[in-house]
Symmetry: C2
Subunit: 142 residues, 2 copies
DNA sequence: TTAACAATTGAGATTCAGTCTCAATCTCAA
DNA sequence: TTGAGATTGAGACTGAATCTCAATTGTTAA
């Protein structure tokens, strides 16, 4: 957590951007929630706490967080994006239930091997990945 | 290709849905393009060929194609979705260049192993997957 | 300290992919 | 031939995300 927060502050510094009041509010909120969240949820939980930050600033700051590498943007096949703060887990994916929407995280070091293989084979410098398996969870499969 | 087209027709039959003129037009167009495409592109290439099908029908038919399992919907981190017709390749992912947007496909049977491992571990019935590596291609990396 | 400039913000307008509505049309089994 | 249900197109609508722009807040150089 601390590292990630610091990472963001360092990113701002390196780009001569300010660590403004609003950016601090958003950063704290992001790292106080666990797991995944949506931009609109973040906006409304700030509203509930009377911490007024505009929608534009929320989206702008989320972009910065993604660029700084402390948050990642994921897509679960819905219209809008989800975010999650990056943990220590590096080889991380999701199982998404097509019926009830449940999301299970997993970690599997095979992802790292795959990443290295394909990076080498295609002469690609891989920065991040996204891996989702869609199907039916134990409750929803018949 | 043929198999996939047939698969769609069988899906329609199994749901007592018609293989209408419009659905045929869209099906043919989808399988005449290679690789990835976007819904709006499809719409406009049909317009150019004077084959008028409404936007609603294009989206509706793409949904059916996805449900039938002959086309898959992918997300490359942009606001809108991309589609691709499903090939024989089962263990298939993408490398997406963050600078020039180039997309390289790859196939790697490690994906199958990963899928089986996680399906078993989490008691999940996996229907499909999506794997994207984001980074810089050989041209764009310094 | 001040002047000049850049970064930051909020409110609301705007965009754009995708969905919905609904009347008109088509299909096909009885 | 009838009617129930499937299908369609046009355009209204939705909702996430972006853009605009004037006001405000740093920051830097002199």
């Amino acid at each position: 957590m601390f590292n990630q927060k610091k990472k963001f502050q360092e990113y701002l510094k390196s780009k001569s951007l300010a660590f403004s009041k609003e950016r601090k509010i958003i950063l704290d909120e992001v790292f106080s929630t666990s797991g995944h969240f949506e931009a609109e949820d973040l906006l409304f939980s700030l509203r509930k706490k009377k911490k007024r930050v505009s929608r534009a600033t929320v989206y702008r700051t989320l972009d910065l967080l993604v660029k700084s590498g402390s948050v990642s943007k994921i897509n679960f096949g819905e219209a809008h994006s989800h975010y999650e703060h990056i943990l220590e887990q590096e080889y991380h994916g999701h199982l998404v239930c097509l019926k009830c929407g449940k999301i299970i995280e997993f970690e599997n070091e095979k992802i790292g091997k795959l990443k290295n293989e394909e990076a080498k084979r295609n002469n690609f410098q891989i920065m991040r990945h996204s891996l989702e398996f869609y199907g039916y969870c134990s409750r929803c499969r018949k």
